[in-house]
C-alpha cells in the first residue's frame, strides 16, 4: 500500500484527520461561542481600577489556586446562587494583542472559588489584611502573603489606607499602607458578583429540600458551620476578633444582651458605629441567610467561647427579618 511507503500520503492523511477534528471540536465551537454571546443585561464592563486589579490578579498567578466557575452541580452551591452560564463570561475579551483572554475559570480549588466573592467577602479591611498576611485572619490558610502590594511607612498620609495587623505579623513598628495595586486588586475582587437571573438553570444532583411541616418548629441548621463560613473570617474561630480591625464577640454586649433587633440588624445589614473597628458589610443580606440560619448563628455565638445566654427563638428572628426585607429590598 502506498501509505506505508509514501511519506507524503501518510503524513498528509494524518495531518488532514487531525486538522479536521480540530476544526470540529475546537475551532468551530469556539467561534460559535464567541459570536453568539451577549453579556447579561444589568452588567457593566470593569472600571479602570477593577481592570488594573484584574491585571494584578493575573500577574501573580492567583488562578493557580482559585477558580471562577460555578458548575451546575449541587456541591457548587457554596460558591454561587446559580450555575455559571456562557453569558457570564461574555464581557471578557482578549487582554491585549500580546496576551490572551483571561476568563480565569481555573482548574484547581486549592483555595475557594471567587465567582461570587464580592458578595461573600466584600469587606475592604478584611481583604487588605488578608492580602498582606492571610494567616493574620485565617490561621489555617496556606495562601501566599503579598507584602509587595503594601509599603511600610512612618506616617500615614491623608487619603492613604492603613492596614491594622496584629504585632506578631508586623514586628517593625511601622505603619502598613496599601499601595495602589492592593486597592485595585481588592476592587477587582469586590466586583466579582454573580448577576441575578429571573430564570436561572438549576443545579444537578441536588438533595431534596426539607420543608418544615406546619405545627413543628423550624429545624435549625448547624450554627457552628454557618459561623465558620460567614463570620469566622473576621471575628475568628475563637470569637476574639482582631484588635483594631474586627471586634470580639466573646463577652460582647450585643451578643449577650437582650436587644435582639439590633443583633439581627447587624448580621443582616452590617455595622459602622464604632470608629476603632472596620466597617462591617451586610453579611446576612449579601449571603441571603434565612431566618433559621441567622437564629443558628446567634445561638452559636451566645453559647460559645465562655458566652452563656438564653437561646433565641426562630419565630422572633423571622418576624424581624421579614420587616428588614420589606424595608431594605433593593
Amino acid at each position: 500500500m502506498n501509505m506505508f511507503t509514501n511519506h507524503r500520503i501518510l503524513f498528509g492523511t494524518s495531518f488532514a484527520l487531525f486538522a479536521f477534528l480540530t476544526l470540529v471540536v475546537a475551532i468551530m465551537p469556539a467561534i460559535t461561542n464567541q459570536k453568539n454571546n451577549a453579556p447579561l443585561p444589568g452588567t457593566a464592563d470593569l472600571t479602570a481600577d477593577q481592570l488594573a486589579g484584574k491585571q494584578v490578579f493575573i500577574a501573580n498567578g492567583c488562578v493557580a489556586c482559585h477558580t471562577q466557575q460555578v458548575r451546575n452541580v449541587a456541591m457548587d452551591k457554596a460558591w454561587g446562587e446559580r450555575p455559571g452560564i456562557a453569558a457570564d463570561y461574555a464581557r471578557i475579551t482578549r487582554t491585549d494583542f500580546w496576551r490572551n483572554t483571561a476568563t480565569l475559570m481555573g482548574t484547581e480549588r486549592t483555595g475557594p472559588d471567587l465567582s461570587n466573592v464580592g458578595i461573600r467577602q466584600g469587606s475592604l479591611a478584611w481583604n487588605l489584611v488578608h492580602l498582606y498576611q492571610p494567616r493574620a485572619v485565617v490561621s489555617e490558610s496556606i495562601m501566599p502573603a503579598y507584602p509587595w502590594l503594601f509599603e511600610l511607612k512612618d506616617q500615614v498620609a491623608a487619603g492613604e489606607i492603613e492596614v491594622s495587623i496584629p504585632s506578631k505579623f508586623n514586628p517593625t513598628n511601622k505603619k502598613i499602607v496599601a499601595k495602589k495595586e492592593a486597592l485595585q486588586l481588592v476592587s477587582y475582587l469586590q466586583s466579582l458578583k454573580q448577576t441575578e437571573l429571573p430564570e436561572a438553570p438549576s443545579f444537578l444532583y441536588a438533595e431534596e429540600e426539607q420543608e418544615a411541616k406546619p405545627g413543628y418548629s423550624i429545624q435549625l441548621p448547624d450554627g457552628q458551620q454557618l459561623y465558620a463560613k460567614n463570620c469566622a473570617p473576621c471575628h475568628q474561630t475563637n470569637g476574639e476578633g482582631l484588635p483594631g480591625a474586627f471586634p470580639p464577640l466573646k463577652g460582647s454586649s450585643v451578643v449577650l444582651g437582650d436587644d435582639l433587633e439590633l443583633f439581627v440588624n447587624i448580621i443582616m445589614l452590617g455595622y459602622d458605629a464604632r470608629p476603632e473597628y472596620a466597617v462591617m458589610n451586610a453579611v446576612g443580606l449579601n449571603n441571603k441567610l434565612s431566618a433559621a440560619e441567622v437564629t443558628a448563628i446567634i445561638n452559636h455565638e451566645r453559647n460559645s467561647w465562655g458566652n452563656r445566654a438564653k437561646p433565641v427563638d426562630a419565630e422572633q428572628v423571622k418576624n424581624m427579618m421579614d420587616f428588614i426585607k420589606k424595608t431594605k429590598t433593593p
Binding site: H7, F11, S14, L17, F18, T22, V25, A26, I27, P29, A30, N33, Q34, I58, A59, N60, G61, V63, A64, C65, T67, Q69, R71, N72, V73, M75, P83, G84, A86, Y89, A90, R91, I92, T93, R94, F97, W98, R99, N100, T101, T103, L104, M105, G106, T107, E108, R109, G111, P112, S141, I142, P144, A145, Y146, W148, L204, Y205, E207, A228, K229
Partner: protein
Amino acid sequence: MYLMATSSSIFSETGIILTLTLLCIPVVASALFLVNKAYRLLRLYLGKKELERINKQILGLGQDEIEALEQRKRELAFRLNFTELGSTRAVRDERGLIQTLEAPELRFIERKKKGVPRPAVPQDLSNLILWFIGSAVFWLVFGTTVGEYLGIKFSAPDLDAWSFLSFGRLRPVHTNAVFWGWASMAMLGLAHYVIPRVSNTALYSIKVGYWALGLCNLAVFSGSIALMAGINNGGGEYREYIWPIMALFGVGILLSLWNLLKTISKRTVQELYVSNWYIVSAMMFLLVIVFVAYWPTWQNGLGETIIQGYYMHQGVGMWFMLFNLGLMYYFLPQQLNKPIYSYSLGVLAFWSQILFYTLIGTHHFIFSAIPWWLQTIAIIGSVGMIIPVIAGTTNFLLTFKGAWNKLYSSYTLPFYLVGILFYFTGSFQGTAEAFRFTNLLWHFTDFTVAHSHLTMYGIITFMLWGFIYTLVPRLTGREAKQATIGAHFWFALLGLLIYTIPLMYGSTLRGLMWIENKPFLESVTLMAPYWLWRAIGGTLMWISHLLFAYNFYCMVRKKEELHRPSTPAEILDIRAKLLHLKTNHHEHVH
C-alpha cells in the same frame, strides 16, 4: 441518575473501582521488583554465612586430616612442564588465537549488562544530540527544583515573601520548564538519532538542528523569566508563556520538523518505520495546537475555555505521548533484540489515538458553562482512548514476552517497563476521571496534580530516562556507574508513589467533604498531612534527578587518563609515532 454520594457508597462507583484497580498495577509491580531484589540480597547474605561456617570447620581440622590434605595437594599440584611433547623454541601464534582472559572480580552489586557497541554515529550528529539531551537535563533539574520548592510551600507558605518566587508565579515556571524544557528537548534530541537511523541516512542538516536547539532553549529561558516577572498569557495551564515567547519554541519545532522530513525524504529504505509515523505526526500536531491556541486575534469569552481544554490536552496526548510512543517503537525492540510484537497493533493504536484523543480536551471543564454536547463528546472520547491504550500496552508487553529474563540483567529496561505500566495505569485513570461522578469527586482537587505526575512523570519521564541511558553510551562510549543508575531508578519510582498515593487519598476525602458541603477551611486543614507527604515524595524524586544529572555527566565527560600501551599493535604504533616525531624534530633543528 440521582447521586447521593456518601463515603460508604463511593466504592461501588465504576470510576473509583477502576482507579483503585489501576493503581494496584504499579504498586504490585514495584513490590515484585523489591521482593526480587531483597531475595537476591538475602541469598548473598546466606551464602556468606555458610562460608563462615565452612571456615570454622577448616580451622578445626585434625593433624591427620591436614596431612591427608597436604598429600592430596601435592598430587594435584603435579603439572606437565609443557616440553614433554614439544620443543624449547618460542611459541608462535600467527592467527592471534591466544589472548589473555580477565579474571572475574567479586562484586557486591549485581553486574548488569554493558551497552553493546553499535555502528558509530557521526561526531557532529552525536554532539547535536548530546546538546539537546544536556539542555533537557538542565531544565529537568531547574524545573523540578522549582517544583520541589513549590511543594514545600504548601506546608510552609511564609518561606519567602519575594514576588518573583511567589506560588502563583512559580507554578507555571515549574510546569512549563519540565514540559518544554525537559521532556520536549529530550524527545527532540532522541528523534535526531532515531529518524536518520530508521531512514538509514544522515541527518539532512546539522546546522538547522542547532538553530532549533537554540530557539527552544531561548523560549524556555525567557519564558521562565517573564513568568517570574509577572508577564503571562492570562492563566490557561501550559499556555502561560505569551505568544512571542511561544513562537520561538514553535519556530524551533518547525525547523526540526522540516529537517527531519527532509531526512525522511532522502531515506534509503522503502518503508516508513512506525516510529516515523508517530514522531512526525506529533511534531505536525504540536504546530497545529500552538497555532490554534496562540493566534493573537480571537478567543473572546468562553471561546478561550474551549480552546484551552483542547490545547492543554492535545499538548499532553498529541505531543508528549505520541512522540514517546514513536521512540518506544524504536528503542524497545532494539533493547530486547527482537522485533515489535505486532506492527498492525502499532498502526491501529496510531489512528485510534488521533481519532479519540482529539475529542477529549473539554473533559477538563465538565459541568462548566461550555456546551453540554461538547462535554459529552469529551467523555465518549475518553472512553474510546481504551482502544489505543490497550493496543499499545499489549504490543509492548508482548514484545517483552520471552525476554523477561533480560529485565534483571539490564539497567535500562526497568525504566522502560515502569513507563509502559504507567502508560496503562495513567491513561486508563484519565478515562476513569472523566466520568461524571468521579469528576464531581476529584475535579478541582489535587487528584489532578497526582494524575498529571503519574502520567508526565511515570510515563513520559521514565521512558525518556530509559532511552537516554540506552543512547548516550552509544554516542560517547562511556556508561555511568550502575549503582548510581539503580539509585536514580529507585528514588524516582518510590518518590513518585509516595508523592501520588497520599495525594490521591487526601483529595478523595476532600472531594467528599465538598460534596457534603462542609466548610471549605476544614478541607484545607484536612489536606495538610497529604501535602507534607507530597513534599517528601517530591524530595526523593528531586534527589533522583540530581543523580541522573550526575550520571549524564559521567556518560559525557572526557576522561583524562594515562593509557599504558599494552597490546603489540599499540606498542608498535606508538613506537612508530615517536620515531616519526623524533626524525621530524631533528630535521626541524637542522
